[in-house]
Symmetry: C2
Subunit: 199 residues, 2 copies
Amino acid sequence: MRLSCIHEILIGSRDQEKAKCTGEVCLNEACKRGLPCRVECVSNQEAVERSEVIILAIPYKHLDSTMSGLTGFEGKIVISPINPMEKSEFFAYIPPVEGSAALHLKTLLPESTRLCLAFNNISGNRWRDIDQELEYSVAVCGDDAESKRVVMEMIDQISLLKSYDAGPLAMSPVVEGLTPLLNNIAKCNRMKDVGVKFV
Amino acid sequence: MRLSCIHEILIGSRDQEKAKCTGEVCLNEACKRGLPCRVECVSNQEAVERSEVIILAIPYKHLDSTMSGLTGFEGKIVISPINPMEKSEFFAYIPPVEGSAALHLKTLLPESTRLCLAFNNISGNRWRDIDQELEYSVAVCGDDAESKRVVMEMIDQISLLKSYDAGPLAMSPVVEGLTPLLNNIAKCNRMKDVGVKFV
């Protein structure tokens, strides 16, 4: 997987031992391939305090409990890749009353936090496979133009991802809902880890 | 635009003169290019009665008035490409109380009608340009497996379209909502007639 810029990565976790394990796996795999990489494992609170851009890569069901007690989000860029969905016979999009996970998250953050939506439609399996390129489109939503620009630049540095400004945070229900749709397409058409390209 | 099968096309309209004009334009353009084509222009009621597969290619705001008084949908396959959306600064998905245009349409049809969702995410401009191929993915939703198969086969005969079974009609809000998202992506990234591919 190509990376055209080196970022300092902090992996935050409620369980610092778990974060350490994840960090070590990341570092080992990157070093084996000669990729430059800087990873540090810290508590969630330290990750929030020391980061400029915070990616909340957690399942929706853990969102409230993870956010509870965390402080220091003022002025930071927060990215939500969170998709509230459930699986029975098919995958279904089950958003909270606010209309989407991102719109719910907005109520948990200070007003000065610059919340963006991104990475919602890329399968976790594809991120783990660092020997393969990620050739997908990434819809980025948000109400603050400057933070959207920062997030889009970051995305365009990762593998073959291509970012697209997808409008305001009000579009988040569609972007989040696209993930259960892609999961159903995978299931119904015997495919794996289906993603999306805007053409 | 390639077509690997010849269908008999009935263009239905409330205004038969308008249907005739549309039909003549289609026939002329097809004949000029040596494409085989059979098009007949009839009233909406006649189109419903004589067709096996009915594509309701109308704006959402005209759905109720168009359906009012039409009969004979029993057992037929009906395709909804309808996206209820509004435009102010950005495009927004504004579904009816049932959750989507397709789920609303379901309440207007007899129980035996086999309703599918398809063609929602292809721009009208791209359909009009018959010298260009359409290279898009088409999500097909529906609760009846046999009619979904018929619709998917039909789609795969058109240009370079590729159909994907996208699960039950319950997924229709996401597929319909994808269209205003694609419109916003076009607007925000200075693109035209953006479509989608599942990869």
